[in-house]
Amino acid sequence: MVSARRRHAPRSTIRHPGNGAATMKPAFSVIFLTTLIGAGQGLFLAYYSAEWLVMLNMLQPAGSDYTTLAASISFLLLVAGLLASFFHLGHPERAWRAAAMWRTSWLSREVIALPAAMATVFAYAVIRYFGLDLQVLTLGRIPVSLSTLVGFMAMLAIIALFVCTAMIYASLKFLRQWHSPLTVLNFFLMGMASGFTLATVLAVATSAGPFGYFSAMAVFLTLAALMSRLFSLSRNLNLRSPSTLQSAIGVHHPTIRQMAQGAMGGSFNTRAFMHTYGAGVVRLGRRFFLISGFVLPLLLLFFSEADSLLVCAAALLLQFLGLLAERWYFFIEAEHPQNVYYQMIS
């Protein structure tokens, strides 16, 4: 029973085959896509930003250079994300078509930005590995090499990819929990945080690279991501869809009860937009992602030393698991207005 005063059906009364809450069902291929490429993007930007800081004499060059290795790992993470995304498609063999509608579709734009980021990061790694690093121009008194220039293009592609990936969700105005600039900020900060954590682990494992810079940035970005995510959590807490059963069927009576949804065995509508997790699991998931994705890595990174590989690796593992849970919760959080039509089978 939905009353006009209570603008939206209370979750506990919503009944459907899944017996869960009426929200978006987490798409696991998309969860892996966004977390893997986020870490890859952040990792590249960590090493590339360190390169600039060294060039500008703001950072001491530390030992041998593992930027090629970092760029390769970044490339592999982007590839892994791309592979994960194929599992989301009904027809992966037609995926090439997805670049067509870049004028209107953020998904199409992501389909262009991801290969662009992959190609430039790959080119960067190849130039570094084979030592094809010619000096191409000078900025003031700073010599700029070919890899720095290609890296700059990679950086632009990576930032564009962050925006495109997040805007896929943020542009859907019906999903009010996603339709916010906070979605873009969250995707960016979480990708950067996990990338810098990975860079910290890499710096410790290779005993090279600016450990202090990476770990400090990882702490800062994880803290920033935590604050931004808490802000969006509190924003979503009291968010209610303007769609009610009244506006959905156009009958303006305070008491409307669904008697039949037109399908006995469920439908795409009940399978795609409703998850099957109980309220306890959802609460647990939220606590887990806040603690494992943010709080624990924050503490571990804060107290880590340049030789504490185990501590940093634990921080990375916990953070990645936490961010997977965060992306899972991101789906659970979003309420689709179509669910108003699917509250009772019969």
Partner: protein, 243 residues
Amino acid sequence: MTQLALVIDLNTCVGCHACVTSCKEWNTSGDAGPMVDRNPYGAEPTGTFFNRVQTFEVGEFPDTQTIHFPKSCLHCEDPPCVPVCPTGASYKRPEDGIVLVDYDKCIGCEYCSWACPYGAREIDEQQKVMKKCTLCVDRLYDESLPEAERKPVCVLSCPTSARIYGDIHDPESDASRAINAAGGYQLMPEWGTQPANHYLPRRKVSIAVHEEDLQRVDNPLRKEDRGQRAPTTRTTLDDSTSW
């Protein structure tokens, strides 16, 4: 510009599901191939449907009304599902405003279904492409059909004529006249999607019934007056209205 659409009269719909079954029958037999139909006779039948009838109870017992609510793609004038499609498989035809999916271009990413607030799109679990109401576009222009049958099959099958098909941009069409006459409205107007399909609200129906409508005063077969002639001195309604 033409905008073909359906106008569904909730005042006359009796919830018989004839539109649902005829829709499935027509569209599962079409060029696009069969639509999923799992456990059709089992306990939990499920599958792809372009049109469904839902039922709602309005009010509190004993003052309740049952509303049967047919639901299909509304062919929005500003369809949110179209711009999000990465391949261009979802499109709105400029010539008649029908929103269609090109099943050969669809990659099955389901993004359009996320963008539709009405839940009008369904993935076909066998063909792995997004499907939805086509407004029977394969009937509307088929010159091998008699002209009267060049309509969506749900409209033809409705036994109570609760479904009206027409161009809502043409003020003289049946659909526009029905919208104007009965206060046709759009679903979820708060999203600004401007659905082309309209619904006609439940209306209070009252008929003035006069005594003369039920019983002719000068009925020669009146049992009460059997054997007697009806009085001829009084002017009856029939004297003034019969011809």
